[in-house]
């Protein structure tokens, strides 16, 4: 046992940063798994360049993974790291501005060569020139210690040995924060099972890192973070993209329908395609299409055939799919469009997050073309959002948008796994017999005869005898669905389609959280800003102020009580990662002069910044 002291902490934010090829995402993932196994609550933020391998050692090539874990509930991945692991000078330089004074920095001194320093514009090594004085710097020759620790592995080249340095770093951090490494050992065994020597080398590097922390004097103590108090249940750690894929599969299971995905690879949505293509066992068919348009066409064709058609993409893909979404609106068929938003316009920032597709989802089509929108608020909530989207799509025969984003897609958090027996039943009734009579009194099928309550039309799938019918993108006559250019009919059908979406039932009222009951200021968010907003609001309340908060998950239609809620506060602030898109919708819909607070930096809001914004508004109201 170590003779070193163990200190107790309530929360820690660690950021692993290195070159794209240094394995920082894997290191972060493994540390996250270890932390989840310890029972801490957590939230993660991967941040990586769009280039697969930018030039080595340069600033554009820096990849990082931030993890916030605590003995209490965690709302965000954290603003500022308490510990920065910098695998090279570029990683140090790119991340130093985020590190508060007094924080710990572990640097891999082996990479601080003249050449590498010069690549990022350091004239002198910051380790030696005193510029890091206000931090706790641990200079560790990570690469060479790893190589030394693997001296016995004759079959490996020096390069291969160097590659295990991320496992050394993981071992060191695991010791520092008393994380178990058994999960990582099992993971490595599975990953490198076919290459015993590489497996053994990685395990050795991991152990060497742990032992380094335990034995060297440089690290005086390790830390413990007690498990968080969480509601009883079975938990797992899950990313937004995985949760979304699982939500779609669970919904299809509960609808007793096959799931068909038509998709074209695009960052940051591709992981949903990957996840679903591995779930064939659950009657999931995935078709990687020739382009975005074909992806949604395939999904729509499958929906016509009675499957749950899904297409997954990001903003640029939505732009291409718009015409087919309009067709689905006109055909009134279920269809799920997953938009994992990223920075735009155009190619924009493929690996960075943004919420700027809201108006595209809402209005980005020709004609009056209403589409319901559901926006998950946390990585785990992507499961529920997907489930809810399928509910709406199948019950109302409509395309539905799921607006996730890059932050939710790649971020992760513990998820209380739901009991399958408690998932709602989504079983759908296909039309099975004629629902009208023709001029001669013969039974006929009217594909656009609506359910009076939901306004949904019957879903009659090919293969059903007697219901043969034709539908298309040309305006259809009410009830019969025949082509109609009649002015009054078009007016009626346009209003019916709008009323159907506006009248979607089962959308819960927006819930306002106002512990003091005296708040005059409401902070309203949507989608992935929930965590940062909740954390900022908590900080403001802890400072003794009253502030109310609420979060929207349904953007179209809005919850029925939203207008009343907005009007009951002296001021409403709407933080969004765009230039005020929800604010615009709220003003137009409710004539309430909401105050946008916007940021499009490709990163989630900082809790501290948001808290300042809220305090400023409170001062103005006082």
């Amino acid at each position: 046992m170590s003779s070193k002291t163990v200190q107790k902490l309530d929360r820690v934010v660690i950021r692993f940063a290195g070159d794209s090829g240094d394995g920082m995402q894997l290191t972060g993932d493994r540390f996250t798994s270890e932390t989840a196994a310890m029972g801490n609550d957590l939230s993660t933020l991967p941040n990586f360049p769009a280039e697969i391998r930018a030039p080595q050692g340069t600033l554009p090539g820096v990849s990082s993974f931030q993890l916030h874990f605590a003995d209490h509930d965690v709302l965000t991945p954290g603003d500022a790291p308490d510990v920065l692991v910098a695998m090279n000078p570029a990683a140090l330089k790119a991340n130093l501005a985020d590190v508060p004074r007094g924080a710990t920095i572990i640097v891999n001194t082996d990479e601080f060569s003249k050449r590498n320093l010069a690549k990022v514009g350091y004239a002198e090594s910051p380790i030696d020139d005193g510029s890091l004085e206000s931090f706790h710097v641990h200079p560790v020759p990570l690469t060479s210690i790893t190589v030394d620790a693997l001296a016995a592995f004759d079959g490996l080249t020096r390069k291969e040995k160097e590659r295990a340095k991320n496992m050394f770093a993981l071992g060191l951090l695991s010791w520092m924060y008393t994380r178990p490494t058994t999960g990582t050992e099992a993971f490595l065994t599975k990953k490198f099972g076919a290459h015993p020597e590489i497996l053994e080398a990685n395990l050795a590097a991991l152990r060497a890192g742990w032992n380094y922390g335990e034995t060297t004097e440089d690290f005086a103590s390790s830390y413990e973070i007690a498990p968080a108090v969480m509601p009883p249940g079975t938990y797992r750690n899950i990313t937004g993209n995985t949760a979304l894929a699982h939500g779609l599969v669970a919904a299809a299971h509960q609808a007793k329908l096959p799931l068909v995905l038509g998709s074209y690879p695009i960052t940051p949505a591709s992981d949903i395609l990957h996840a679903l293509s591995a779930l064939k066992r659950h009657d999931v068919t995935t078709i990687q299409a020739e382009d975005e348009i074909a992806g949604i066409g395939i999904a729509l064709g499958a929906s016509f055939g009675g499957a749950i058609g899904v297409t997954t993409t990001s903003g640029p893909g939505v732009a291409l799919k718009s015409e087919t979404i309009g067709l689905a609106v006109s055909l009134e068929l279920p269809l799920i469009i997953v938009d994992v938003q990223r920075g735009g316009p155009s190619t924009g920032l493929p690996t960075k997050t943004e919420q700027a597709d809201l108006l595209q989802a809402m209005y980005g089509r020709n004609g009056e073309s209403p589409v319901p929108i559901v926006a998950p608020s946390t990585p785990a909530d992507c499961f529920d959002a997907a489930f809810e989207a399928v509910r709406i799509a199948t019950a109302y025969r409509t395309p539905v948008f799921i607006l996730s984003d890059g932050y939710l897609a790649n971020g992760s958090e513990p998820w209380a796994v739901p009991e399958v027996s408690e998932l709602p039943d989504l079983q759908v009734e296909f039309a099975s017999e004629p629902n009208g009579v023709d001029d001669k009194g013969e039974p006929v099928f009217h594909p656009f005869l609506r359910d009076p309550e939901t306004l949904a039309r019957p879903w009659a799938v090919p293969g059903t005898a007697g219901l043969e019918h034709r539908i298309g993108g040309i305006e259809k006559a009410d009830v019969t669905g025949n082509i109609s250019y009649d002015p009054d009919n078009h007016d009626k059908m346009t209003r019916l389609r709008a009323a159907k979406v506006a009248g979607i039932a089962g959308i819960p009222d927006v819930v306002v959280e106002d512990p003091s009951g005296e708040a005059r200021l409401l902070v309203l968010g949507w989608g992935s800003t929930q965590g940062p907003i909740a954390a900022a609001v908590r900080a403001v309340r802890n400072a003794g102020h009253s502030v109310a908060s609420a979060h929207l998950r349904h953007l179209n239609p809005f919850p029925a009580n939203l207008g009343e809620v907005l009007r009951s506060y002296d001021r409403v602030v709407v933080p969004e990662m765009n230039l005020g898109q929800l604010s615009m919708l709220l003003r137009a819909e409710f004539l309430v002069d909401v105050r946008p607070h916007t940021s499009v930096r490709g990163l989630p809001f900082s809790t501290v910044d948001l808290a300042d914004v809220i305090l400023t508004h409170l001062e103005e109201l006082a």
């Binding site: 066992r281 395939i298 016509f304 019918h469």
Partner: protein
């Protein structure tokens, strides 16, 4: 979900699987279907004299021959005059958006092996705005039949040149003559790895019906180019091969296993491959030295000869091959996709139960909070 057991012949060789395998048939004692049953109650709204009428009549008359239940036939179309086709057939149908029908049909055909899927498209729909979907459907070999009505003009938008319009063609958008190089749809399809490619003509009901039959029977994507006259914007585009006095000298009927020939009986010419590869029609009794008679083999694995035949076609229509250029058996995309899903389900012991879903949701790494 159905998987198709590919039949074998008595001598053990793999027989070609049918495009209709897996699609429910009418009961043996059911009364024979009629053209009328396949005719919807919608008024047909093409221009008088449009070639589409003849194709519609041929299809409506032919469909009963398949012996399929009407509810197991779906026509999907894009946009354009020809794409109104599904409205006039009393089957399932979707009139979709411009160029996208092959993609939509791919989703339907892959998820519904019990459906006999047809795509109706035109030269603009299939080769211009929808060119990408067409080539990828052909490459994948999804089990469906694509009827490409080629009238070498945009009709519905009232007369602009299309990707098959001839160089120099004067249209509303090319008043000085088109400078666009046209596509040869058959060459394009062969280049896109198509397994079944044929050409026929609106006015030859018998030939058209025979091609439809072969196309429907083919398992995979069948591309049928149908020369179709637009009497309003491009009247007479195919007159040289419709005119009875000229057609015999110009139409090259592709007959499997037969020499490729053209011309009336008293002046018949045979296609030969000259040393070096050049093709030439020569009088049957004067084979040049070293020339090799081209015998049509639609089932040849190598598409080179089929491609060479497709190049006989020139804008002058001196020689226009009609018939099946290529018909080879290759595993279809949709069968492959379904086989993978089926294998995954079977290996796991049958359709996913609630417990299976619960196991998926839990993943491999859970912890319990008491």
């Amino acid at each position: 979900m159905t998987t198709i057991d590919h039949p074998t012949t008595s001598n053990g060789a793999a027989a070609r699987p049918s495009g209709l395998a897996g699609i429910p048939l009418l009961a043996p004692d059911a009364p024979a279907q009629t053209k009328k049953e396949f005719t919807s109650d919608q008024e047909v709204r093409w221009c008088p004299g449009c070639g589409d009428y003849a194709i519609l009549a041929a299809v409506q008359s032919f469909l009963p021959e398949l012996g399929l239940k009407r509810e197991n036939i779906t026509f999907v179309s894009g946009i354009g005059c020809s794409s109104r086709f599904p409205y006039y057939l009393d089957t399932y149908g979707m009139h979709s958006i411009h160029g996208r029908a092959p993609a939509i049909a791919t989703g339907l055909a892959t998820s519904r092996p019990d459906q006999n899927v047809w795509v109706v498209t035109g030269d603009g729909d299939a080769l211009s705005i929808g060119g990408n979907h067409l080539i990828h459907a052909l490459r994948r070999n999804v089990n469906m039949t694509i009827l490409l009505f080629n009238n070498e003009i945009y009709g519905l938008t009232k007369g602009q040149y299309s990707p098959t319009s001839r160089v120099g063609q004067v249209t509303k958008s090319s008043p000085l003559g088109s400078v666009d190089q046209p596509f040869n749809p058959v060459s394009l399809a062969l280049g896109a790895e198509a397994t079944f490619v044929a050409r026929t003509m609106d006015s030859d009901r018998k030939h058209l019906t025979a091609i439809l039959r072969a196309a429907a029977e083919h398992r995979g994507t069948s591309l049928v180019e149908i020369y179709q006259n637009c009497p309003i914007f491009n009247d007479g585009a195919f007159e040289l091969i419709k005119d009875r006095t000229q057609q015999e000298a110009r139409i090259v009927h592709l007959l499997d296993g037969e020499p490729v020939q053209v011309g009336p009986e008293d002046d018949r010419k045979t296609l030969v491959r000259m040393p070096g590869g050049r093709q030439e029609f020569v009088a049957a009794d004067s084979l040049p030295e070293g020339a090799e008679v081209v015998v049509h083999d639609a089932g040849a694995e190598d598409p080179s000869q089929a491609f060479a035949l497709s190049r006989l076609n020139t804008p002058e229509m001196t020689h226009v091959p009609m018939g099946i250029f290529r018909s080879v058996s290759r595993p279809t995309y949709d069968d492959g996709v379904r086989a993978q899903v089926r294998a995954a389900v079977d290996t796991a012991g049958g359709p996913a139960t609630d417990d299976d879903l619960a196991a998926l949701l839990r993943g491999r790494d859970t912890w319990t909070v008491g």
